[in-house]
């Protein structure tokens, strides 16, 4: 008898130890009124089971383990955390490295500020994965990074570094550059490009030089290394363009070099939707403008169509909707204002996009474009438990985000 007791105690010790450590292996169960998986049909009155920050099961008849902490969302709608494929960077100071127009090796990931207000706000608007890039004043602006909005240091935030090379076409990179007409060149602003022609020329030259670099097996030039890697398809290329003529130029150059690119902003994409679709080029839209602008020395002109997203989607283009706030009009008031994705998607539907497409455009499609769809973007087994709980249909103007879960942890909750 006593021996039994001793043996029992001896064997139960490891169990006690594991039950202490299993507090870290958290099991969470969400009982939802409606589950919008995005990858499949909506599930009414379903349950999502989460373990160790991953989704392990979704369905209507699931056994909820005893030790699971249960979130009762039976009067709510549950959907995947949003993926912003062009978010406002959480970086202090100027985002633009003005000293040169060609800065391919510039990495925004080196300057991440984990305490940034931008991250704290973006979580509350439902964004759980974001892609950020350097500023848009340079022709070849540098390397972007895919990250989560919660973490203490860059190591904790980043999920994919060197995620894409940002190229900006159109006339943004010509801003500020001037020719030494009657004055000696006193600052680095006396340089190319000063016209849109030069933008295309410089891009081609950079690609040409990179090709030479690859062929010559020269010593390491960090800038050339990046462009070379992009040309060889090792780093995705994202080209920011607004006007139809620039979209065409971008596609033309991409074609010349056999590149598959992603188009950002694409304000006039609706004019050339078929051409974009033919090239199987995905598009990350944003920001949205109600009114057209005429070209001036301060900014690029653009025409608008409110149903840009819908027209592109209908033509067969993969469309993601992002905030792309820093690409906004040159007179953008502050860096603090970022458009929330649910509002962007809601209005895309209003203007003609199909609701299912619009929901995908802020979840699964950007995840696919960013190359992280195996872990985020929809509610499926094995994916990160990045989940939003809303008071109603996410595309209704009166719905509110009540809870945000990031990798199984609740990171935001309304009182």
């Amino acid at each position: 008898m006593r021996a039994c007791a001793i043996w029992l105690t001896f064997f139960s010790l490891p169990l006690m130890v594991t039950s202490v450590s299993s507090a870290q292996e958290k099991t969470v169960a969400i009982k939802a009124g409606e589950i919008l998986t995005v990858s499949g049909a909506p599930i009414k009155a379903g349950i999502i089971l989460i373990q160790n920050g991953k989704i392990v099961d979704i369905g209507t008849t699931i056994a909820v383990p005893q030790d699971a902490s249960v979130i009762d969302a039976s009067d709510s709608v549950v959907m995947p955390g949003l993926v912003d494929a062009g978010a406002l960077p959480p970086v202090r100071g100027d985002l633009n490295e003005q000293s040169s127009e060609i800065t391919p090796a510039l990495r925004i990931s080196t300057a991440l500020d984990p305490k940034s207000k931008v991250l704290k706000r973006i979580v509350q608007t439902g964004c759980t994965t974001l892609y950020i890039a350097p500023g848009g004043a340079n022709l070849i602006a540098g390397l972007g990074v895919i990250m989560k909005p919660v973490g203490k240091s860059a190591a904790e935030l980043i999920i994919k570094d060197d995620a894409a090379l940002k190229i900006v076409m159109g006339s943004d990179s010509t801003q500020g550059n001037r020719i030494p007409w009657y004055e000696p060149p006193t600052t680095f602003y006396y340089r190319r490009p000063t016209t849109t022609m030069a933008v295309a020329w410089m891009l081609r030259k950079s690609f040409f030089d990179a090709k030479q670099y690859i062929a010559s097996h020269e010593k390491e030039d960090p800038n050339m290394e990046i462009i070379a890697a992009a040309l060889q398809g090792k780093i995705p290329i994202r080209v920011a363009v607004r006007r139809a003529i620039d979209i065409r130029t971008a596609l033309r150059i991409a074609n010349e070099y056999g590149l598959q690119v992603i188009l950002d902003e694409c304000t006039e994409g609706y004019k050339v939707a078929e051409e974009i679709a033919k090239k199987n080029t995905p598009v990350v839209l944003g920001p949205f403008y109600y009114y057209p602008r005429t070209s001036s020395q301060y900014e690029e002109g653009r025409e608008v169509n409110w149903n840009n997203a819908g027209i592109l989607a209908k033509a067969g283009v993969r469309v993601a909707i992002a905030s792309n706030s820093q690409e906004g009009p040159r007179f953008a008031a502050t860096q603090d204002e970022s458009v929330d994705l649910l509002t962007a998607a809601t209005f895309a539907v209003r203007h003609g996009m199909a609701p299912a497409e619009a929901l995908k455009a802020i979840t699964l499609t950007p995840a696919e474009i960013l190359g992280v769809a195996e872990r985020v973007g929809s509610l499926e087994n094995g994916k990160d438990a990045d989940i939003l709980i809303l008071s109603g249909n996410p595309l209704a103007a009166t719905s509110r985000i009540k809870l945000v879960i990031l990798k199984g942890e609740t990171v935001y909750q309304i009182d």
Binding site: D94, N96, Q98, K115, K117, K120, R121, Q124, A137, Q175, G176, Y189, A244, R248, L251, R252, N255, Y270, K271, V272, A273, E275, K279, F288, Y290, Y291, Y298, E299, V304, N305, W306, N307, I311, K314, R330, F331, D336, V339, T343, A344, T346, F347, V349, R350, H351, G352, S391, L395, A396, A397, T398, S399, R400
Partner: protein, 447 residues
């Protein structure tokens, strides 16, 4: 005898006929009946499958079961939601210039500055606004008087609903904006040239001088009477608006750029006993408790959601102005901002309010009845009730549904906007046709 009678009869009928042809005789009463799937009266409960009777542009009756006169033109709107047209209680758009660069010009009127062709009016009508108070901007201390107009008409006179309505006072110091090139981009740099202290003192001095002027005027009048002399001096018309403000004939719309201006505005109201409405800036919600004690009408900034950093925890908190004012028991109206996403629409402002906890009926009143009350036109606008103007919107769905569009707008019994005929909107929503010149022979293909 018979002949006389026949002659009289013929003359009378001839006259009657002529007169009626000329239309001077008994006016033809235009009767309308709108049969709507849902009617949101704002004044009472929502009505399913009801009807609205209109005569001569005035609502005669609204109910579920209403007898429709045989001679009424019936407008079928079974798949529509009909509600009062939206009212905008304050805007400075649609003007040639929003501000005069001299600080004290209460005698100016926006009536002289409204540009009927401004796209702002076209957009407002398209978005369901039927009445708006156009006031001067925020850069002038005593900016001038406002005009209530409908966003429909080719001239200001035909747009006019009510002239000489509201007087704009701005406590924000006038801001100069200069275009600067810095950090590789162009941006506006603001430099305030006068301080808030200066604004308040200017106003006090103006009111003191006005008081002196009136006293001296009365004195002169009295003297003239005593001396039995003719007194035909008129009050300086440039001072009249401020006098009317003091007499309650005008309402002061005081712009408070920052929450700290609200106590100043209250001080002005208490000192001079003006009818006052507050036009708030983005942080106006901070003064909610202060305002709730005064029961002053409040017009919210177009930006309803503001982020605030908590000083203790460094957390970012969302402050939602309508929710805060609703909790404080303050009546408010919304403004719209045509450049920003959802903020462009008054119904979206109402939907945002509902999202963050405001009661649906209150939110709907804030875009119809309350603004009408604030600008003094609630006898004609703001709800569907007998006696009010038939200025209504026909919506494709619930007003707070983001998928709802304004299908038709009726002003004074006349349909003045139809989405189906809105060519500009069509162009903005439909795919451009290839022959609209987007393709040239050179870049027909990008291969």
């Amino acid at each position: 005898m018979k002949f006389k009678f026949c002659r009289a009869l013929i003359s009378v009928s001839l006259i009657a006929g002529t007169v009626s042809t000329l239309g001077y005789a008994a006016p033809v009463r235009k009767k309308l009946a709108i049969k709507a799937g849902k009617i949101i009266t704002v004044a009472g409960p929502e009505i399913q499958d009801g009807a609205i009777l209109i005569e001569d542009g005035i609502i005669k009756a609204v109910d579920k079961n209403v007898e429709i006169p045989w001679d009424a033109e019936v407008i079928e709107a079974k798949d529509r939601v009909v509600m009062p047209g939206f009212v905008l209680a304050h805007t400075s758009n649609g003007l040639d210039a929003q501000n005069e660069n001299v600080p004290e010009v209460p005698f100016l009127s926006t009536f002289d500055s409204i540009d009927p062709v401004s796209p702002f009016f076209e957009d407002s009508l398209r978005d369901g606004v039927v009445a708006m108070l156009v006031l001067p901007g925020n850069n002038t201390l005593l900016g001038g008087t406002g005009t209530v107009v409908k966003p429909y008409g080719r001239t200001v006179e035909t747009m006019l609903i009510k002239r000489y309505s509201g007087l704009k006072i701005s406590l924000a110091p006038p801001v100069q904006q200069t275009l600067r090139y810095m950090d590789g981009r162009y941006s506006y740099q603001s430099t305030a040239s006068v301080s808030r202290m200066g604004q308040m003192q200017r106003l006090r001095r103006y009111m003191a001088e006005l008081k002196d002027y009136l006293e001296q005027y009365e004195q002169r009048k009295k003297d003239a009477k005593e001396q039995e002399k003719l007194f035909d001096e008129e009050i300086d018309p440039r001072k009249q608006p401020m006098i009317d403000l003091s007499n309650g004939k005008l309402t002061a719309f005081i712009y408070c750029g920052i929450a700290a201006d609200v106590p100043k505005a209250i001080e002005i109201q208490e000192t001079h006993n003006f009818n006052t409405a507050l036009v708030l800036g983005t942080d106006g919600y901070k003064a909610a408790d202060l305002i709730s004690k005064k029961k002053m009408p409040v017009i919210l900034d177009p930006q309803l959601v503001v982020w605030e950093t908590n000083e203790e925890t460094y957390a970012e908190e969302m402050k939602v102005a309508p929710a805060i004012f609703y909790k404080a028991g303050v009546k408010f109206a919304f403004q719209a901002d045509t450049s920003e996403y959802g903020r462009r629409y008054l119904w979206y402002q109402a939907a945002t309010a509902v999202r963050y906890g405001v009661d649906r009926a209150e939110a709907l009143k804030s875009i119809t009845l309350y603004p009408a009350q604030f600008i003094g036109i609630d006898n004609r606008f703001g709800s569907i009730e007998s006696g009010k103007e038939a200025s209504l919107v026909f919506l494709t769905g619930d007003p707070l549904d983001a998928q709802t569009w304004v299908d038709k707008v009726m002003i004074g019994g006349e349909i003045v906007y139809e989405k189906a005929k809105d060519l500009r909107l069509k162009k903005l929503l439909e795919k451009p046709k290839p022959e609209e010149g987007q393709q040239t022979s050179q870049d027909k293909n990008t291969d």
